[in-house]
Amino acid sequence: MIQTESYKLSMGPVHPSTHGVLQVWLTLDGERILRADPCMGYLHRGIEKLLEKRTYFQCLPYTDRLDYVSAMNNNLGYCSAVEKLAQIEVPKRAQYIRVIMAELNRIASHMIFIGSLAVDLGATTGMIYPFRDRERILDIFNELCGARMTYSYIRIGGVKSDLAVKVISMIDDFLAKLTDMIDEYNDLLTGNEIFQYRLKNTSILTAKQAMELGITGPMLRASGVSYDLRKDNTYCSYEDFDFSIPLGEKGDNWDRYIVRLKEMSESAKIIKQALAGLPTGEFMAKVPKVLKPPKGEVYDVTEGPRGEVGYHIVSDGSAKPYRVHIRRPSFINLQALDIMCRGYLVGDVVAAMSTIDPIMGEVDC
């Protein structure tokens, strides 16, 4: 009699497509997945603990290092939480600049997503083009604040520096080219039949499952749930802009890809409006040199490229936070990996992992 047996396969932590140091324990029956257990912690740096020993200002550079491909959004999340705690009113101009930068960073982050999805499916060239285009955004940030990845640009009370004319023209340039860039991805990847066959109807995550797991961001929207904090819980003057929220239908890998692709054009729309209506005035509020927020706690959420970035800060009235907890979207989204993989093939795990788009710095914190 023939007997079959399942076996375990350790994917990672050193594996080309685990986006850093993630380990996934796969229980396999031949090539079919019975179970996928993500095992994390290889990049743990204890950031939450580190923040307790730093003043509110000094915490900022650490938030860059959580989700290192969208540092602006993390800066924004932290700063708005602290501002809420210390009741600081941010000037309108600063809010607009923040929106511009957060959306630019969202585009950059989605470009990384497209690139890494392509390379995980074996299309190396599909990786190079988005990464090359992302470089243009990094050039803008480099001109703006002198760093390519860890910006620390959005500060408590405003932003570090005003928008220079050169930066504005660079952004205009970039936006003009963005449509061509997206067209190129469409030609090379979206239209490609192999790419479609690989992604369509695989790793389906239904809206119910997604909501039960607390999935947020493009992943949730790909399952058809219209939930975007920029619309539903507006912050930072997002209510001033006119944009739509792309939704998926089925919640398969393909929807997750398309939703992100469409979000890039929506972000571009927001940036254009923000640049056109950029108010004059201060770019920084009056913030005391030593910030001692009143006793109490605050939880504030913003919409990052991967989902809800939440900061829970407890203050004991001193210059240093008593406790900071960070809701990292990648970490929570990664929990869906098991559901998304069961019953599919090894080739699909890689695709599922890419469409979750986890950043290990954020998962392990």
Binding site: R54, F57, Q58, C59, L60, P61, Y62, T125, R132, N142, E143, L144, C145, G146, A147, T150, S152, S161, E184, D187, L188, L189, G191, N192, E193, I194, F195, Q196
Partner: protein, 134 residues
């Protein structure tokens, strides 16, 4: 039509095959660093510095280790300005904290080295060396 996307993809890559290349031939060609670029070593302008240590206090990761000396005229001046670049987050907080703009970056990004100790340097000492070499 199945297969059309495949041909379109081939057309895209062929266009790039003959297109302009992005490569910068690194050691010969270098991308100029921007005005705001933060990176490289810290340059201390000793004439400006008032030895207030505000920069060290602003540093989130205690990467700066300063020793201040009081000379015979009761004037404070910097004896050692040690920057442990291995700990540095390149957050620019020190430069911004300085009340007299005595700090700046030398923007030399070629600062990799073989040993970890070589990352730590003394900005005051570097100034002396520069003086000697003219």
């Amino acid at each position: 039509m199945q297969g059309k996307g495949l041909l379109v993809g081939l057309a895209v890559t062929l266009k790039h095959f003959f297109g302009k290349k992005e490569t910068v031939q690194y050691p010969e060609e270098k991308i100029p660093m921007t005005e705001a670029f933060r990176g490289g070593k810290l340059l201390l302008d000793e004439k400006k510095c008032i030895s207030c240590k505000l920069c060290a206090m602003a540093c989130p990761n205690t990467a700066l280790d300063l020793t201040v000396e009081i000379d015979e005229n009761k004037k404070r001046h910097m004896k050692n300005y040690i920057h442990k670049a291995g700990r540095c987050l390149y957050c620019n907080f020190c430069v911004e904290a300085c009340p007299v703009d005595a700090l700046s970056w030398d923007k030399n990004y070629e600062n990799s080295c073989y040993y970890r100790e070589n990352l730590t340097y003394d900005a005051v000492e570097n100034n002396r060396k520069d003086e000697k070499n003219g």
